[in-house]
């Protein structure tokens, strides 16, 4: 009897070993939220028959990985993450240009001049507040950057590390471009007192606010909605009246990646109406003019945007991060 069970156990374990062979496989790093990536990838696989093996990493982490793997790239494509991070990638030499065949015009600021990266969505930085917290604290939701410094929010704000998260770096770059570098750091030092703790992932603060672990999350509006009130959490989104930053989400091909042709197909697909329509589920604003926008998603004309120079942000990334680390001390 003992022997039978042992043999069975071995057979079961061996049966597990059934690697997928034959199908074409595209390897990718996705900076989109895991749950979100899981909405889109199966559709791509269905539409094209190409299998995708992906790892979810925050944008900053993707950049770090690509630079570390430069001699032996593990993936062919970087999907998601703000354009300034993809620009840093171009600067680091980890990307390779690709111009997708489009039957619609992509704005200049929505792609790299050399086509090293291509934009596929827009999103603005906003504040997500837990309504229960607001009620208990007796304050309205913050509507300006200065509001965030109020003592009532001490230990109640969540945001990610600017070096791991594209979201958070966008906030830093926005502040720098809005207030000037020194003032921006002064501001963040004051903000630091109100921050509960830093996350690795840019959209994690939203769920934490939803849970009530913190009162306010600073994140992109699509994340605020998709992971906040759309999910059922008591979150309301507000935007700073002084102006806010935004991201053009990008895709770039990895230099030396194992499946460049499949990667190109993915880019084409991501910009197609079909794929862009899928983004309604996450309240992202699509760039393809023929795609539909989800109800409740925050469009560019609904908030005050600053004139955000993504290229400068991308080039200054290393320097600003270094300064942030030594001045904020994290």
């Amino acid at each position: 009897m003992r022997h039978i069970v042992s043999v069975l156990a071995i057979v079961v374990m061996v049966a597990w070993v059934s690697p997928v062979l034959g199908a074409q496989v595209l390897h990718m790093y996705s900076a989109l939220d895991t749950a979100e990536t899981q909405l889109y990838i199966p559709e791509f696989e269905k539409d094209t028959g190409i299998k995708v093996e992906w790892v979810r990493l925050s944008s900053g982490e993707v950049l770090a990985r690509l630079r570390a793997e430069a001699k032996n790239p593990q993936v062919s494509i970087w999907y998601g993450g703000p354009s300034q991070d993809h620009i840093s990638g171009k600067k680091a030499g980890t990307s390779v240009p690709y111009k997708p065949p489009l039957d619609w015009g992509l704005q200049d600021n929505a792609h790299d001049p050399d086509w090293s990266w291509v934009g596929f969505y827009f999103g603005a930085i906003g504040f997500g507040s837990n309504t229960d917290f607001l009620k208990k604290a007796g304050v309205p939701a913050p509507t300006s950057w200065d509001d965030l410094l109020k003592p009532v929010f001490k230990g109640q704000i969540a945001i990610a590390f600017p070096y791991t998260s594209g979201t958070s770096y966008t906030v830093l770059a926005t502040l720098v471009q809005m207030m000037g570098e020194d003032k921006a750091f002064e501001y963040w030092k004051k903000l630091n007192a109100n921050i509960h703790h830093y996350d690795k992932s840019g959209s994690a603060p939203v769920t934490q606010a939803g849970l009530g672990e913190v009162g306010i999350a600073i994140s992109f509006s699509h994340d605020l909605i998709a992971k906040g009130n759309a999910k059922g959490y008591p979150i309301i989104s507000t935007f700073p009246k002084e102006g806010t930053g935004y991201e053009i989400g990008g895709i770039s091909l990895v230099k030396g990646g194992p499946e460049p042709e499949l990667a190109k197909k993915f880019v084409d697909w991501a910009l197609s109406v079909r794929a862009q329509n899928l983004m309604q589920q996450w309240f992202r604003i699509p760039l393809n003019p023929k795609a539909e926008v989800a109800k409740g998603a925050v469009k560019a004309d609904q908030v005050k945007l600053i004139n955000f120079d993504a290229v400068k942000a991308g080039e200054d990334r290393d320097r600003l991060i270094k300064r942030w680390r030594s001045e904020i001390g994290q």
């Binding site: 156990a9 959209s203 939803g210 849970l211 999910k231 059922g232 030594s326």
Partner: protein, 570 residues
């Protein structure tokens, strides 16, 4: 005659080792085995560490300490070091205390339901350590279950940070302390305590003057081992550290978030100092000073306390048990909740998504663990056999090297592997091989420790008889030794498998699109505050581990849990 002996002894030592070497060279199979093992240990244990060290002190081809200077000159870079040490000390103390409580209650206070307490006291071993962090947030976060129920949300337990980490790591690691202390208490000769009573001492005096002093080596071991485990812990701090940065996480962030390889490597080396020191102290100093007299069989539980104390101890054990059950229970509950914090209707959707989306991770993890575990077991046994039964030059070094992965935190090893195997001729990053190798060499000490213990219990005469009858080393090992150490072999396998399934701190560096692990996925979910999802995944993982352990147990008949849990996990 004394002088003569002195002159001969120096010659004798090297002669014996050379003789040992000569004997081995006469047996080609044995010599080949040793050669392969030495080469593997060098390549997969030593070399990655060398690369980490190298990365931290070499810049532009020159030796420099400026990376360390840079790091240590900044207060915010020094803080993780203090924090890690502080946390380590606190966890060592708390964990040892809890472990001693349970061990004493079982071995000396003869509490009822001993088996139940044993299971509780060793359960945290089979769960990924960071499940407890998840539970802590669910229970004691601002919107935690306890926080809301008991404190109406008025009091913030500040679970993120030192407090939470001490709580969580104590529970995660006290089983190790428990097993050490149980072993020590059971090995103390009853005659010592009985004669003390006989001479008129009160029970308290017996404890204070006999039991406790004899337990000291065990206590010291436990403190040191737990200190190392806490420092090496990665899964818990990455979730729960909040504004209390620790070295393991910082090293990771430097590498994965900032591409600061030299900084990350330097932090890893700094992390290595206290852990290596504690490990060596434990192995070579405390480990040798065993005061217990071995009476052959571990003595059964004794009743050495008065009824009041017994009730008190029982109460404390029950309280601890309650805490542990509450934590794990919260995870179970959380896995069925639609949206923790907002919508508490029960649902199975998270479990559905475990198999739907997580199926790939489960498959990968099981395949890799299934491949690595048998290799680990066999390699461990061979090393144990060589270390216990054979004499040769460098034997001590082989023994130490194979144990090294216990002392070295996973973070350091992980960084070492990505540095060492990122370019030809050893291009392994992104492959399954690198994960399997990591599993194997992180867990070899488990197998070899179990093997060493088992071998030491075999009457040498049995193996000598086989040799005497004509069997060479290989044949003796296969036909005689191996069958006799089978139980230890299987318990080593079981524990290795558990460690593979719950590993995080080293493997998080080497997962790729092609091969991903369930623990990494769970971590991602927790970071993303998808708590219910993470809870469901965790429980499925624990369930799989239990099933496999059960299968192994059925296959062997008995899994020696007394051998498990002795070493740092993750």
């Amino acid at each position: 005659m004394g002088r003569e002996a002195g002159l001969d002894s120096a010659r004798e030592v090297s002669w014996r080792q050379m003789d040992g070497l000569r004997r081995i060279l006469r047996e080609p199979v044995l010599a080949a085995a040793i050669g392969v093992i030495v080469a593997s240990l060098f390549l997969f244990v030593i070399y990655p560490l060398v690369r980490v060290f190298q990365m931290s002190v070499v810049e532009d081809g020159r030796f420099t300490l400026h990376v360390y200077r840079d790091l240590l000159s900044k207060a915010f870079e020094r803080r993780p070091l203090y924090n890690s040490l502080l946390l380590g000390v606190l966890v060592a103390l708390a964990g040892t205390a809890v472990g001693y409580l349970f061990a004493f209650a079982i071995a000396r206070a003869d509490v009822p339901w001993k088996r139940f307490f044993r299971v509780i006291a060793t359960f945290p071993i089979i769960s990924p350590p960071f499940v407890l962090s998840l539970a802590a947030i669910l229970m004691l976060g601002r919107k935690g279950f306890i926080t809301r129920m008991l404190f109406q949300g008025q009091w913030d337990p500040h679970i993120y940070g030192l407090r939470g980490l001490v709580l969580v790591e104590t529970i995660a690691f006290f089983p190790t302390a428990f097993l050490i202390m149980l072993g020590v208490l059971q090995a103390i000769d009853p005659a010592l305590e009985e004669s003390s009573l006989n001479l008129g001492a009160t029970r308290w005096q017996v404890f204070r003057t006999v039991t406790l002093p004899l337990s000291v080596p065990g206590l010291a071991s436990s403190l040191l081992v737990l200190f190392v485990e806490s420092l090496a812990d990665f899964g818990n701090p990455i979730i729960l550290s909040g504004n209390f940065p620790v070295l393991s996480v910082q090293a990771y962030l430097h590498i994965t978030g900032m591409v600061d390889f030299s900084g990350g490597a330097a932090l890893a080396v700094i992390l290595l100092f206290p852990t290596l020191t504690a490990f060596l102290l434990q192995k070579y100093w405390v480990g040798r000073k065993s005061y217990v007299t071995v009476t052959g069989k571990p003595s059964p539980a004794r009743l050495s306390v008065d009824p009041m104390t017994r009730r008190l101890l029982l109460g404390l054990c029950l309280a601890m048990t309650g805490v542990i059950l509450l934590l794990y229970g919260t995870v179970v509950f959380g896995s069925f909740v639609t949206l923790w914090g907002a919508n508490y209707t029960l649902t199975l959707t998270h479990y559905v998504s475990v198999f739907h989306i997580g199926g790939r991770y489960l498959r990968d993890t099981l395949i890799l663990a299934s491949v690595a575990t048998p290799v680990t077991g066999i390699l461990g046994m061979i090393i144990a056999f060589l270390v216990v039964r054979k004499q040769f030059v460098g034997k001590g070094l082989m023994d130490l090297t194979s144990m090294l992965t216990f002392a070295v935190p996973g973070t350091v090893v992980g960084i070492g592997y990505i540095l060492a195997f990122n370019e030809p001729p050893l291009l392994l990053t992104g492959t399954a091989a690198i994960i399997v190798l990591l599993f194997i060499f992180r867990n070899v000490p488990v197998g070899s420790r179990a093997g060493v213990a088992a071998l030491q219990q075999i009457d040498k005469a049995i193996e000598e008889a086989a040799t005497n009858l004509g069997a060479g080393s290989g044949r003796t090992f296969v036909t005689i030794t191996l069958p006799l150490i089978t139980p230890a072999f299987f318990s080593g396998l079981a524990y290795s498998f558990v460690r593979c399934m719950t590993a995080i701190s080293a493997v998080i560096f080497v997962v790729s699109g092609k091969w991903n692990l369930i623990t990494v996925a769970i971590l991602g979910l927790v970071e993303n505050a998808d708590l219910s999802q993470a809870a469901a995944f965790s429980l499925v993982l624990i369930a799989i581990v239990l099933v496999v352990l059960g299968l192994i147990q059925v296959g062997v008949g008995r899994v020696a849990t007394s051998q498990m849990g002795y070493e740092p996990s993750g």
